[in-house]
């Protein structure tokens, strides 16, 4: 695939900006020449038709939710409502400078405030911050809150975070960035936190636990109240990773399960688009114990007017340049308004129904390590399909069927894992098509394994050489070589 650097350039294109209407002077008269650039950056000048065609062509090499099922576990790749895209482009929302006085941004502030109220209600927790712009960012902010909490209580020994061995990689990474060490708690045979192991790990060096509910196996922690109860009794706090909120929207609240911090992934549960990797939004909701430490500025309502609140002396400070990903918040707010209470409940019902339907049908052909009703996602194993065939091969072959593969090799506690989350926006026809493809692939694994091993055959590129990319990283266009198509 060509890059813009491979496209034939022309001389300066012009036509975008008007001629200077102020007297022009030599740049060197205004800025000392030692500060000025000598060489031009090697960025081509291209006409609009060239650029338009280039990005149109690139887009066609991609697969998005609008193309079909995207059953990535714990990613909740649900449909991205079109109206939200339009609303986030309203000039009244996009044309506001973040340093504008609060009085000039009452519309946005009202929206952010109301969204915070709704998120607090969904979480069942009193304090909310919209500043974190990703789930991992929310996790980090939560860890900062833990740190400040224990500082305030003069408990510096509390430096350990417990997490289950099924935890998503960002959990231990976030804890580590915040200066905590991590201790893994094994899952029991039912895929849940081993309570005895938890008891053994709890002591006065534990700051808290990070849990995903339901966990990454799609299993709801039945002993959740016991788990959080034990951690609290030992003087620790409970962080809940909200990536899997789609499993119980409209039915349960993390605050009622013992959470002290809960992060939302607006780009998962609340339908905002994933964008090829972002921008997301990871607001946090916190319990009373942590409200005083929330980032500044907060969004407050004072006698019908919305203001930025800076008076929070024990705040951890700020984790974002401004107030979080505002335009992403706009989309989530619009989504919530459309759903209402009944819509939230309908979402989790269909999400869990879809997952269980797939699980029931696929367990006949694939190994299901935890054979029980799941929530919104479940994990299969690609083991035992055929000699020399791995989950990776199954995933690549799905591409030939026009479907995006599920998450593979995660969670780590299941070998050759395939983590599948259909979401509620998949119809039965698409679900059946997925089952059909998976069954055919299982048969191919036995009868014509080379089809899997050499897959994909029908994608814009064949299987890519990961080793070469990792061994000799080429991360920028090699201008000094001849460009190759």
């Amino acid at each position: 695939m060509k890059t813009i650097f491979d496209r034939p350039p022309r001389e300066g294109v012009g036509g975008l900006f008007p001629e200077p209407d102020v007297p022009t002077r030599d740049l060197e008269d205004l800025i000392d020449r030692t500060l000025l650039r000598v060489d031009s950056p090697r960025i081509p000048n291209l006409s609009e038709p060239t650029v338009a065609r280039h990005y149109t062509a690139l887009s066609k090499l991609n697969y998005g939710v609008d193309d079909g099922l995207y059953p990535l576990g714990s990613c909740t790749m649900k449909h991205n409502p079109k109206v939200n895209e339009d609303l986030s482009r309203l000039p009244g929302l996009t044309g506001v400078h973040p340093h504008a006085d609060a009085g000039l941004a009452q519309g946005t502030l009202a929206l952010l405030y109301e969204l915070s109220e709704l998120l607090g209600g969904i979480a069942g927790l009193p304090g909310v911050s919209l500043q974190p712009v990703a789930g991992a960012h929310g996790e980090l902010t939560g860890m900062f809150l833990f740190k400040r909490y224990f500082e305030g209580r003069a408990e510096p020994a509390r430096r350990r975070i417990l997490l289950p061995d099924s935890a998503h990689g960002t959990n231990p990474a976030s804890a580590a960035v915040a200066g905590f060490s991590v201790t893994e708690i094994p899952s029991n045979d039912a895929g849940m936190v081993d309570l005895a192991a938890l008891d053994a790990a709890l002591d006065e060096t534990v700051a808290g636990i990070m849990l995903t509910v339901p966990n990454t196996l799609g299993i709801f922690e039945e002993g959740i109240l016991e788990v959080t109860g034990k951690v609290h009794a030992a003087g620790g706090l409970c962080y809940f990773d909200g990536a899997n909120l789609n499993a119980f929207l409209g039915r349960a609240r993390p605050g009622d399960m013992g959470a002290d911090v809960f992060h939302f992934n607006l780009h998962k549960t609340l339908s905002t688009p994933h964008g090829g990797g972002g921008p997301g939004s990871g607001p946090i909701a916190v319990s009373d114990a942590l409200v005083d430490f929330l980032p500044v500025p907060s969004i407050e309502r004072d006698d019908g007017r919305y203001v930025l609140g800076w008076d929070r002396p024990r705040s951890i400070g700020s984790v974002h340049s401004f107030y979080g990903n505002v335009l992403v918040a706009v989309k989530a707010y619009a989504y919530l308004l459309q759903l209402g209470d009944e819509g939230l409940r309908a979402v989790s019902e269909d999400a869990v129904l879809n997952a269980n339907y797939l699980q029931e049908r696929l367990k006949r052909t694939y190994v299901l390590p935890y054979d029980r009703l799941c929530k919104h996602e479940f994990v299969l194993s690609g083991k035992g399909l055929a000699e020399g065939i791995s989950t990776l091969d199954v995933a690549k072959r799905l591409i030939d069927y026009g479907l995006h593969p599920p998450t593979i090799y995660f969670p780590l506690i299941v070998r050759e894992a395939l983590m599948i989350e259909p979401t509620e926006t998949e119809g039965k026809e698409d679900l059946d098509r997925f089952v059909d493809a998976m069954e055919r692939i299982a048969a191919e694994a036995r009868e014509r394994p080379e089809l899997l091993r050499e897959a994909p055959h029908r994608a814009p590129v064949r299987r890519l050489d990961q080793t070469r990319a990792a061994r000799d990283p080429v991360l920028t266009y090699p201008f000094d070589e001849r460009a190759e198509g």
């Binding site: 990961q466 990792a470 061994r471």
Partner: protein
């Protein structure tokens, strides 16, 4: 692939070839096969001291990172610089040219406590 009879082995999948009071260390065939194509090796510095169980080096493949743990206390006296440009040597010649570091052992008796080839192979069979 067989495991050289004259080497010792650890349950963390390292092999040890004794050379007097020095030990040449690498990862076993099992380890390299689990990791896949090796793309990068982080070597220790010569002269650094290590304690048993601590990370001596790390070996990275495309999808995973393997910690090479020091099987005993000692001092690093040699490292395999070739691995910096050709990390794939570990995949190609895992028990030979793919050695990672040579450590001067504080207590030579510690080496004897490691598994022999037969012991390592039965350990693998259990897992």
């Amino acid at each position: 692939m067989g495991y050289p009879a004259e080497y010792r082995y650890t349950k963390d999948h390292e092999w040890v070839a004794v050379e007097g009071n020095r030990a040449r260390i690498g990862i076993t065939d099992h380890a390299q096969s689990e990791l896949g194509d090796i793309v990068f090796v982080e070597l220790p510095s010569i002269g650094s001291s290590v304690k048993a169980g601590e990370i001596l080096a790390t070996v990275e493949s495309v999808k995973a990172v393997g910690d090479v743990l020091a099987p005993f206390d000692g001092t690093v006296v040699e490292v395999n610089g070739d691995l910096e440009t050709s990390p794939e040597t570990i995949n190609q010649s895992v028990h030979d040219a793919g050695w990672i570091a040579v450590v001067e052992v504080d207590d030579p008796a510690a080496v004897g406590a490691l598994l022999d080839a037969a012991g390592y192979e039965s350990f693998l069979a259990e897992g």
